[in-house]
């Protein structure tokens, strides 16, 4: 096509979003085949084992933590929250993009959603699950975490509803359940496909049963499809505000506090933007190797990546605004504590982290202005990694650098991570990767029903 027309035409016509010439059958077979338990490639196996070990390390670390106490971390007074909460906020942020992509793009009828939605939703489910673990682990007495939940008890006492932690408890709980439902509902027709495919193949009885159970006996009846579509739309409609509210609650965990650096009205939108930022970055980090190794270039096209890259760029500006606003308000407020906190971030002991997070989250993404970079997967991959790191550092700065020097100079202190802090961070990443590999191995990595629709539409397109 001509350079002009590229710019003039709709960004998401099927032809733009679907390479090659795929029939329903061919496409279905390609995706479904992966779930039929063919032998795994050597690198695939290596990756699995590596992450598996990481997962075991995570479990071991948890056991030791519960046995010994949170004292194995570097936390202290004043810095009672360290890596655990940093990791939590980081993971929950990553867990945002999935639902947002599926839900928001579905509501806004973005056709390019289909190809990436499944991967994104899976990412969400795993990230949120891991995020959910950390607040529990960080408790002094984790075995009593359920005291945050309202239930009739012999003590006649209830949760303290004014605490943002309780709001958060409900937000995360809701988010986990809803994104699970969203994910699962999307999977039902695909499970049916896998069930039926397994049924036709020799020696796949076990899979037929398992997928059959998960498919709940889906048979693609027209009325079912009608209700199914509506329900998905409803979930999407709910998911979009939910995503925003969840991260707002996470932001409140800090904003409700009175500590300079926490107590800030800009936090909710700021956190949401940051969440999308890290979420999209992580999505790129996952999807780029995925399409490479599974040969999905025809379904997850350069257009998809480019679109994600643009959102990344836009988000980095939102964050940049957030950073500026924080600095401005702290000085504008004339509050000496706020002022000191801001200066301390810039020139205090944690300044290096602060400046490098600015570099990662604001400077680096500017590369995406160049079309060449947006369409070069190597660049995109590198940038997405950098952004992930940058976002983690941002969470760290918010959590730690704010409290380590608050009101009374007499009680100022420093936080130095111990080996255990690092083990928990890294092994949680391994755990995440492990879960994602399992997903790739056992489930359709692309929402087949949605893609078939796309194929259908392309067929109907006036050539």
């Amino acid at each position: 096509m001509s350079p002009r027309s590229r710019h003039t035409q709709d960004l998401s016509t099927p032809s733009e979003l679907l390479g090659g010439s795929w029939s329903h059958a061919a496409f279905s077979d390609k995706i479904a085949a992966r779930a039929m338990g063919y032998p795994v490639s050597k690198p695939g196996l290596a990756a699995f084992l590596f992450t598996f070990v990481g997962m075991l390390i995570f479990l071991g670390a948890v056991a030791w933590l519960v046995f010994k106490g949170v004292g194995i971390w570097g936390i202290n007074v004043p810095v009672v929250w360290g890596f655990a909460i940093t990791n939590y906020v980081w993971w929950i942020g990553i867990g945002m993009a999935g639902t947002f992509i599926s839900a928001a793009l579905l509501v806004t009828r973005q056709r390019w959603r289909g190809a990436v939605s499944r991967a994104a939703e899976s990412m969400t489910v795993f990230a949120v699950a891991i995020a959910g673990i950390f607040p529990i682990l960080h408790l002094g007495r984790p075995w009593f975490f359920y005291w945050l939940a309202p239930y009739p008890n012999v003590m006649n006492v209830w949760p303290q509803w004014r605490s943002p932690l309780v709001w958060d408890f409900f937000a995360i709980g809701t988010y986990v359940l809803v994104s699970l439902m969203f994910w699962y509902v999307g999977l039902i027709p695909d499970f049916a496909t896998l069930r039926d495919r397994a049924g036709t193949m020799p020696g796949r009885r076990a899979r037929q049963v398992v997928y059959g159970l998960l498919a709940l006996g889906w048979r693609g009846e027209a009325r079912h499809w009608a209700r199914y579509e509506t329900a998905s739309l409803m979930l999407a409609g709910l998911g979009t505000p939910l995503v925003v509210s969840v991260h707002t609650m996470v932001a409140m965990d800090f904003a409700i506090g009175n500590t300079p650096g926490y107590h800030s009205t800009i936090f909710p939108p700021f956190f949401v933007a940051g969440a999308f930022f890290s979420g999209f970055a992580m999505m790129l980090t996952l999807v780029i190797p995925l399409r490479r190794f599974l040969g999905l270039q025809d379904f997850i096209t350069g257009r998809h990546l480019a679109n994600a890259a643009k959102i990344l760029l836009a988000n980095s500006w939102l964050l940049a605004y957030g950073y500026c606003a924080e600095i401005f308000t702290s000085f504008y407020s004339g509050d000496q504590f706020e002022r000191y906190m801001t200066l301390n971030r810039m020139i205090g002991p944690y300044a290096p982290v602060y400046w490098s997070l600015l570099f990662c989250n604001v400077v680096v993404p500017q590369l995406l202005w160049r079309r060449g970079i947006r369409h070069d997967v190597r660049w995109l991959f590198a940038i997405s990694l950098i952004v992930n790191v940058g976002m983690w550092m941002e969470r760290f700065i918010i959590v730690v650098s704010s409290v380590h020097r608050d009101f009374l100079p007499s009680s100022w202190g420093m936080f130095y991570p111990t080996a255990w802090d690092w083990i928990f961070l890294l092994s949680s990443v391994a755990l995440f990767a492990w879960l994602f590999l399992l997903f790739v191995h056992f489930l359709p990595v692309i929402a087949m029903a949605d893609m078939r629709k796309l194929i259908q539409e392309r067929a109907e397109e006036p050539a």
Binding site: P78, G140, P142, R162, S163, F407, S410, S411, W412, M414
Partner: protein, 982 residues
């Protein structure tokens, strides 16, 4: 929560307030079995051990076999006794919970206490329960028995009988005990050739020498600072480190608090930071020689006759000259109402001069009085020990009995005591621990603890007090009395009989029983205080030679450590973890240097240096010490705290810090030793609880100059948001409304509150590493700030003002905010308000999110990051306060305003159908405070002490702008600064 020992407890109504009206347990038959019963109860508490997740174990109740009279199980009794430290008595009331001594309070009737105590008295209770105390007799390094020892004694006794005790030596510390002195006199009469030596590493030999120089006889100086309008301290610390410290603190601040600011003016010249200099209105850091020169010039300026004109050139320090004038002026203006105190590092001649100056100013009989030395047979300890060591070396000593003390560790290095001890055929050590001496001596005998023995002792003013046991010796230890008696005769009487015999002879058999009851109940022997004597006109000795250290060398000061003293408390976890007042250092000592000195030497805090005597050549005694820089240290002076580097203190005290005794010499006791410092390249990490002394201009601990205060006494020193600035309805607290007022004018930073709180509230010791991580657990901490005077009106901060900076100590307990930020964020409601406005922490509900700590602007909340409370060592269970829950791992804790004491008082009041009286609830920190800087009470009672305190215009709330509405408030410090020196 963990299961803590024994029974839930209520309180005997008469014991309502530990301090004011306590039951007199004295009448109890002392060695009555009940003192031992507690062991049965221990068994019970063992049965309670370890609450697994399998529900509580079957718990036992263990009643008495015979219920002791006046004993109500579950109701603590208070026994009056004396805590004897370095020979002198401090009257205390020890709380006994069903036979377990658990807490020490001051005895209001006792002159050295007046209801308060120092940190050592508080920590002594932990020492009593220390599982590492010596538990058996050792003979020749082998386990032995008392019988074996007695058997070994018999032949010796025969020998002494033959030679009149030639070669028999007894070494004790400072002795004021009338009974012991009497025993000793008898003993020496019986063995005329035996000799009694004295060694106490902290004994103030110079004071003795000074008295001899000035008056020709040993006299003790009695200070009456309450009568003084001007007090000048020449390197003397009025508030710590000697028998009268606690009392003097109260006297000094009788006229220096928020209620009457500027009642007196306190000048302090100090070579090394001390509490007096810190609280002083004007203080100046000078090397000891300079201080002495200034003293002599001042004396001649005052016209003290016998003082040569210009004995010394004017001191080099720029401010010294102005100080000289200012002091002269101030002292002359207040003749008869002035007080000069010399101490610490001053040479005997100069301290004699101080007596002369006081006499010259007509302070004798007014602010200063003299009594005959309280110490029995006062001698120069350094000389006494040196003489002993010489004799030992020359084989003149056959039998050496060391009754208490640890000379092998703390004798002056040049005495060579340790080496000499090996040449003594028969050496015996009686001690609480099998310490360095206990291991070197032929025999080691376990000593009965202060609270396990019968004894007596005199206070600084001569007042005698009976020491009665709270519990039978845990490890079969015996007192010095008993051992001395044992030397004289086999199968001698017990301590109870010995002490009673002596006092029966004093009081007369007839009146004895009443006398005895009274003495035990009051904790003092009525009318036993020494009479003041007329010292006569003091002679002025010739000025001392005051050589400056050779160039490049520094003047050495060896000081008792504010926490472990001379080292005898090294194995006490509470004291080791108690932040040192100035450095806020824990579990360590350090070579203290002034900033300028450190810079010229190119040394920084944390550098390890080798400190060696300047005059001695290579191979001379040297110690390796990490450096700590303190701005209030005089330049050219290095201070080494004693009492560390123990090798046989126990698991807690061994290897903590460095041992400075190798640098202690007999010569050093008289003159000023000079030392050289050299970096050895190593660095040392300290465990510090406060890293910032600068208040960052946040004006946290407020100071205001007297002139400014006089200008507008009603001035608002603390603008606060109005009560009605809220959309929410206000909670009302109608019944009681507990509040606390802390007077920064009176806080001397002695840390007594911190450790009293630790004892009262079962606060665990976390250890060096945890403190270094920033996880100390103290519920009330004493912050130290160096603030500029009047820093709260925006003076542009220029460093030229540096000399005007003052140290302010600020005790910080929980503020008990009415709008508590911590409560709002707790997800499980583990911290909420009760109907009297207390911010309560419910440990058993806490899940440990720690958000409350994040949200606490005062950072007074403490978290059990690990299992800090020692739930293995059972003797430590016995020490714990059964009224306070023992916290386990993973829960937040904090100051509760001593809720258990409030509850005691409430129960009594409720049973009697009345309201709680003002002063009936006394928090642990308030009770122990020597200067009553802390006042607690009901803010709904208009006449309560706390309301009176809060009425002061100086009263302000910490971080009031956050509108947390604290119940704890502070009174800004008013500095009575001398315009001359501004």
């Amino acid at each position: 929560m963990s299961r803590h020992p024994v029974i839930p407890i209520a309180v005997d109504s008469r014991a309502a307030s530990a301090r004011r009206s306590e039951p007199r347990g004295g009448a109890q038959r002392p060695d009555s079995p009940e003192r031992r019963r507690f062991l049965g109860l221990m068994a019970a508490s063992m049965a309670l051990a370890s609450a697994g997740c399998s529900g509580p174990p079957q718990e036992k109740i263990v009643p008495y076999v015979e219920m002791p009279e006046r004993m109500v199980p579950g109701v603590p009794l208070f026994y009056a006794t004396s805590f004897v430290d370095h020979g002198y008595a401090q009257g205390v009331l020890v709380e006994s919970d069903t036979g377990r001594p658990t807490k020490v309070e001051g005895n209001p009737q006792h002159p050295a206490s007046l209801g308060a105590t120092d940190v050592y008295a508080q920590a002594s209770i932990l020492q009593l329960w220390d599982p590492e105390r010596s538990q058996t007799v050792y003979g020749g390094g082998q386990l032995a028995t008392w019988d074996a020892f007695r058997a070994a004694l018999r032949p010796r006794r025969v020998a002494w009988a033959a030679n009149g005790g030639a070669g028999l030596r007894i070494l004790t510390g400072t002795v004021t005990s009338p009974t012991f002195s009497d025993q000793m006199a008898a003993f020496l009469a019986r063995y005329p050739h035996a000799q009694w030596h004295r060694h106490d590493p902290l004994h103030d030999d110079r004071a003795l020498e000074a008295a001899r120089l000035a008056f020709g006889r040993p006299l003790d100086t009695q200070l009456h600072p309450a009568r003084a309008a001007v007090i000048v301290s020449l390197d003397a610390d009025l508030f710590v480190g000697h028998a009268a410290a606690v009392r003097q603190a109260q006297d000094v601040f009788a006229r220096r608090r928020a209620t009457n600011p500027g009642g007196s003016r306190l000048y302090a010249l100090a070579a090394t930071p001390n509490l007096t200099a810190a609280i002083a209105d004007q203080s100046l850091a000078l090397p000891p020689q300079e201080i002495e020169r200034l003293a002599w010039r001042l004396a001649s300026r005052l016209g003290v006759d016998g003082v040569p004109q210009d004995a010394f050139p004017p001191p080099r320090h720029p401010d010294a000259a102005r100080w000289e004038q200012a002091l002269a002026a101030a002292l002359n203006a207040q003749r008869g109402r002035a007080l000069i105190v010399g101490g610490g590092s001053l040479s005997p001649a100069t301290r004699a001069l101080v007596h002369a100056m006081n006499a010259h100013l007509g302070n004798h009989g007014a602010t200063v009085a003299y009594i005959d030395a309280v110490e029995t047979d006062p001698v120069n300890h350094a000389d006494s020990l040196a003489a002993l060591a010489d004799d030992m070396r020359h084989g003149k000593v056959d039998d050496l009995f060391i009754l208490g003390g640890n000379p092998v560790y703390d004798a002056p290095a040049d005495a060579g005591f340790a080496a000499a001890l090996r040449q003594v055929p028969f050496s015996v050590h009686l001690g609480l621990y099998q310490d360095e001496t206990g291991r070197a001596a032929g025999w080691h005998l376990p000593q009965a603890h202060n609270y396990e023995q019968w004894s007596d002792a005199r206070a600084f003013d001569g007042t005698a007090g009976i020491v009665q046991p709270l519990i039978a010796p845990l490890y079969g230890g015996r007192s010095a009395h008993e051992v001395l008696a044992l030397l004289a005769a086999d199968g001698a009487q017990g301590g109870h009989a010995l002490v009673q015999d002596f006092w029966r002879r004093q009081a007369g058999a007839a009146a004895f029983d009443d006398f005895w009851q009274d003495a035990l109940m009051q904790g003092v022997v009525a009318g036993s205080a020494a009479r003041a004597v007329d010292p006569g006109r003091p002679r002025v000795p010739p000025p001392p030679a005051l050589p400056d250290p050779p160039s490049g060398a520094l003047t050495l000061i060896l000081a008792a450590d504010p926490s472990v003293g001379d080292g005898s408390y090294a194995n006490n976890g509470w004291l080791q973890e108690l932040p040192r007042p100035f450095s806020k250092l824990t579990w360590d000592n350090a070579a203290i240097l002034g900033r300028a000195t450190a810079q010229t030497l190119g040394i920084d805090t944390g550098d390890v240096v080798r400190v060696s005597a300047a005059d001695a050549g290579a191979g001379a005694a040297a110690v390796e010490a990490p450096v700590w820089i303190d701005d209030s240290q005089a330049d050219g002076v290095v201070t080494l705290p004693l009492g560390y580097g123990r090798t046989a203190a126990g698991a807690v005290g061994n290897g903590v810090g460095f041992d400075a005794y190798p640098l202690k010499t007999r010569a050093g006791v008289h003159g000023h030793a000079a030392v050289r410092l050299e970096k050895i390249g190593r660095r040392h990490a300290f465990a510090v609880t406060q890293h910032r002394l600068d208040d960052e201009g946040r004006d946290v601990a407020r100071t205001v100059s007297l002139t400014q205060y006089r200008r507008d006494p009603r001035g608002d020193y603390a603008p606060e948001p109005a009560q009605d600035e809220t959309l929410y309805p206000q909670y009302r607290y109608d019944s009681y409304k507990w509040g606390m007022a802390i007077d920064l004018n009176a806080c001397i930073g002695c840390n007594a509150c911190t450790i009293a709180c630790q004892a009262e509230n079962n606060i665990p010791v976390v250890g060096r590493e945890e403190v270094a991580r920033g996880r100390e657990m103290h519920w009330i901490r004493v912050d130290r700030y160096r603030t500029r005077l009047g820093s709260h009106d925006d003076v542009p901060g220029d460093e030229g003002e540096a000399k005007q900076t003052r140290t302010v100590f600020q005790p910080v307990p929980c503020m008990q905010c009415e709008n508590a930020p911590c409560e709002e964020v707790c997800p499980v409601g583990a911290t909420v308000h009760d109907s009297e406005g207390l911010n309560v922490q419910v440990y058993n509900r806490c899940v440990g999110t720690r958000f409350c700590s994040n949200n606490c602007p005062y950072k007074v909340r403490r978290f059990n990051f690990l299992q800090y409370t020692d739930d293995k060592v059972t003797t430590l269970w016995a020490q714990r306060n059964p009224d306070v829950t023992v916290r386990r791992r993973g829960v937040m804790e904090k100051c509760t305003y001593c809720l258990q004491r409030i509850t005691r008082a409430r129960l009594d009041a409720e049973r009697e159908g009345r309201r709680i009286r003002d002063g009936e609830v006394v928090t642990a920190c308030e009770a122990v405070c020597p200067t009553t800087a802390i006042v607690f009470g009901d803010m709904n009672d208009p006449k309560s002490r706390v309301n009176r305190a809060k009425a002061s215009p100086l009263d302000y709330h910490l971080l009031a702008e956050l509108n947390t509405r604290p119940r704890t408030s502070y009174a800004a410090r008013v500095v009575n600064d001398d315009p001359e020196l501004a």
